[in-house]
């Protein structure tokens, strides 16, 4: 490892100042676009790309490919020869994607990645989302609790359970109906959805608006938190530089 022969505290201070300056330049975009901000943007892209690529090469490519090849050549194999040969072959084919003429040679490798990803996505979607969420949608009518409520004379709570179940099920089904675009042809007239589906879809518009508003508010809160953290950072830098509180 190489470490710069600079006082670590000084280095840290310089880093803080640079970070503060970069933060101010970036925040200035909220008021007006300017060339300095664009330069900072390109700097960010370069640093992020270089950092990510270096991590990928150092932590995966070298230990999983380069070093086993060297070990194999040195006579101290650490991986199965066939496995290593497949890795070298696949890597070579994938690297052809850099060339415009030979890019199609890398198609089988990208196909492998796509096929594996698709299979994992299918399994995860069914097991992790579809089954639990459909189960939750079907379990809105908490029959056991409703029965207990009736037995205990809590009729208000019982009605509330029923009402909640209806609303939640309606919200789920109407949202799904909104994205149903199947319609019967009517000759020269515009195709029209089934009247029941259409009514459900119109109700779904309201629920989707509510859902989108919830997501929007979440993003607003997240970005506000980020803004607060940045302003707090600037405050700390100023305090640190000028020896304030």
């Amino acid at each position: 490892m190489i470490s710069l022969e600079i006082n670590p505290e000084l280095l840290a201070q310089i880093g803080l100042v640079i970070a503060a300056v970069l933060t101010l330049i970036t925040l200035s975009y909220a008021f007006r676009d300017n060339p300095i901000f664009r330069g900072v943007l390109y700097l960010f892209v370069g640093v992020a790309a270089g950092y990510t690529a270096a991590i990928a090469v150092q932590d995966v490519v070298l230990p999983q490919l380069a070093y086993p090849i060297l070990d194999q050549l040195a006579g101290t194999p650490t991986k199965d020869v066939l496995d290593l040969a497949v890795r070298v072959g696949l890597t070579t084919l994938l690297l052809t994607k850099l060339s415009a003429r030979a890019t199609r040679l890398g198609s089988p490798v990208t196909a492998l990645l796509v096929g594996v990803g698709a299979a994992l996505a299918i399994g995860g979607a069914i097991q992790g989302t579809l089954i639990p969420q459909v189960g939750a949608a079907a379990g809105f009518f908490d029959v056991g609790t409703f029965d207990l409520a009736l037995q205990g004379g809590y009729y208000g709570e019982g009605i509330q359970i029923i009402f909640e179940g209806i609303i939640l099920l309606l919200a789920t089904t109407s949202t799904l109906a909104y994205f149903h675009f199947g319609a019967q042809s009517r000759g020269k007239q515009e195709p029209q959805r089934n009247i029941f589906i259409d009514a459900l879809a119109r109700l779904g518009t309201v629920f989707i608006a509510i859902a989108l508003a919830t997501l929007f508010t979440g993003v607003l809160q997240a970005t506000l938190g980020a803004l607060i953290e940045r302003v707090s950072f600037l405050r700390d830098v100023v305090n640190s530089l000028f020896g304030l509180q």
């Binding site: 909220a30 664009r38 990510t52 932590d59 995966v60 990803g117 939750a136 379990g139 993003v219 607060i228």
Partner: protein, 569 residues
């Protein structure tokens, strides 16, 4: 072309043929040594002619003509073919007469009009070896013409051709009219007197058009059998409505723009709008800065029962035994590190207080760097954190595939720590860990819902003790349905600044990262709400004013001229 009895064959000919015959009849004879007296028979005799020859004993064409086949004149076969009678018992002189019939004296021009007469005018004296033909019985009418002088026809030769009529005895052949001798030899009743052709085949039939116009005796090609009209053109145009066209155009535009690289151009905004944006930005900035500078704690913290999912996380961690291994998946984007820092710090502090053994892993390349920063800066006051009582497995490349591989067999997964030659699994802390289910708790820290959802989907069956999430405020809404899933795949969520403040309150912390930000958060949200309200109202009022102005202009009546002024001008 058929011949209709009683009708001049020449009349049935088409005009072009008539004209051609006429022209050819006017042409001079060919200078080449064609023997006009000697008929030039066709090399290939028509069958009917041959049949007549055979039936009545007429010789075929001579050897000269066989050997010196003169080329057939053009359209020679268009001339009416006038057969001759087969005379085999005539006296020689009569034969001579016959042979020297008008056709012989009148040099038969080798014309197209009468090519078939050439065989009539050939030399009668030439004894041409004829093919054998059986002796025939001659009809009575033939015998009436003269005695047979006992000259038997040689078995091997036929009598020479004798013209059917002599000069002067018969009038010249009129085209289209059967000569009397031909009429005489015509078998009675063999030819129908009536034209049995259908009306459609008659030349006078109407509606015969197209390429066969003018020809007689042809099957009509129209109107029933074949219609020579242009086939109908069926439009291949797709019938779309206006709204469908608009949607298709919009979709096409979207797809076209998708492939185009977006220009790296500055976005110029009009001055008034820029001013408003500046005011909004300044208002929010001031609303956030003032509480931070004043470090006020005016805003009350939320009640613990406000967010039950927060309490669920607290309860899960609070019952962990000492030295319990906890897996923390830090899939956090650096952009939202600042917002989630307070929540992460609060939860990890709680875990460290419970003396849990923390194992960090990340599917983001920046994850290990964030872990180090978190532990060295935010958790430096924690003894466990300061001592490094944790394990950072590093970066797990491959996203979904890597997670699946890790959940199946964590020890063989490709993590950067092991890649760097540091095998963390040899540590005594990992003696009890063979699979992911051996961890007492699995915790995922993510900035967006997709990353957390991948952990939930890929590890749903691998976490018997459940999964909890520390997320940004933007991811929480999409993860809440998993809290109510059946089976439940997510046990609890701590999200955003509000979640951090609540968690600190649950841990009875009076100070913390969340509390420091809470006032600024409260004032900032208030400023945002006011700005949205004011902006919306002002926009609405401006719009209404513009609409009113536009309505006034529309309804302004034009000035009407008076019909005439009072002075009579």
């Amino acid at each position: 072309m058929t011949y209709h009895s009683g009708q001049d064959p020449e009349e049935s000919l088409p005009d072009w043929l008539k004209a051609l015959r006429k022209r050819q009849s006017q042409e001079p004879t060919s200078p080449e040594g064609e023997d006009s007296s000697a008929p030039e028979p066709d090399e290939e005799e028509p069958d009917w002619l041959r049949d007549i020859r055979q039936r009545y004993g007429f010789p075929e064409s001579g050897p000269e003509t066989d050997s010196h086949q003169k080329p057939e004149n053009a359209l020679s076969d268009t001339q009416p073919i006038i057969p001759s009678r087969a005379v085999e018992t005539r006296p020689n002189h009569e034969r001579e007469v016959f042979s020297q019939g008008p056709m012989a004296e009148e040099p038969i021009e080798d014309t197209p009009e009468q090519p078939s007469q050439e065989w009539i005018n050939e030399e009668p004296a030439a004894e041409v070896p004829q093919p054998e033909s059986p002796r025939r019985e001659f009809p009575d009418w033939l015998e009436e013409l003269g005695e047979v002088e006992g000259t038997a026809i040689k078995e091997d030769e036929l009598a020479p051709h004798i013209p059917a009529f002599t000069e002067g005895t018969e009038p010249e052949l009129i085209p289209g009219v059967l000569p009397s001798w031909l009429e005489a030899i015509r078998p009675g009743g063999a030819f129908p007197q009536e034209d049995t052709r259908s009306e459609e085949m008659l030349p006078s039939a109407e509606k015969i058009g197209g390429p066969l116009a003018g020809l007689s005796g042809v099957l009509p090609a129209e109107p029933d059998a074949i219609q020579s009209f242009k086939p109908p053109v069926y439009s291949a145009r797709l019938e779309v409505t206006d709204s469908q066209s608009q949607h298709a155009a919009a979709f096409k535009k979207m797809l076209e723009e998708e492939g185009k690289p977006k220009g790296d151009q500055g976005h110029q905004v009009a001055l008034p709008i820029r001013l408003i944006n500046t005011l909004i930005g300044t208002a929010i900035f001031v609303a956030v800065l003032v509480p931070l500078l004043s470090q006020s704690q005016l805003a009350p913290r939320p009640e613990p029962d406000l967010l039950p999912e927060n309490a669920a996380v607290f309860n899960r961690i609070d019952v962990l035994p000492s030295e319990a291994p906890v897996l923390i998946g830090l899939d956090l984007q650096p952009a939202l590190y600042g917002e989630t820092k307070a929540a992460i710090t609060a939860v990890i502090n709680h875990l460290l207080e419970r003396q849990a053994r923390l194992v960090f892993i990340s599917t983001q390349p920046t994850g290990p760097g964030i872990v180090e920063r978190l532990l060295q800066e935010e958790l430096a006051n924690q003894p466990a954190g300061a001592e490094g009582n944790y394990t950072n497995l590093g970066y797990l490349s491959g996203g979904m595939a890597a997670l699946r591989s890790f959940f199946s067999d964590p020890r063989s997964a490709t993590v950067s720590m092991s890649a760097l030659g540091l095998n963390p699994w040899t540590s005594p802390a990992f003696d009890s860990i063979d699979s992911v289910s051996d961890f007492a708790l699995v915790l995922v820290v993510s900035s967006n819902a997709d990353d957390a959802r991948i952990w939930i989907e890929q590890g749903a069956s691998e976490f018997p003790n459940g999964l909890i999430a520390i997320t940004s405020a933007q991811a929480a809404p999409l993860l809440r349905p998993y809290l109510q899933g059946v089976p439940q795949t997510l046990q609890g969520i701590v999200s955003g600044v509000q979640g951090a403040v609540l968690y600190e309150r649950l841990r009875s912390q009076e100070v913390g990262g969340g509390r420091d930000l809470w006032d600024a958060y409260s004032f900032g949200l208030g400023a945002i709400l006011l700005l949205i309200l004011l902006g919306g109202l002002s926009g609405r009022l401006t719009h209404m004013r513009l609409e009113r102005t536009a309505t006034k202009i529309t309804y302004t009546e034009p000035e009407t001229k008076p019909a005439g002024d009072q002075l009579g001008n």
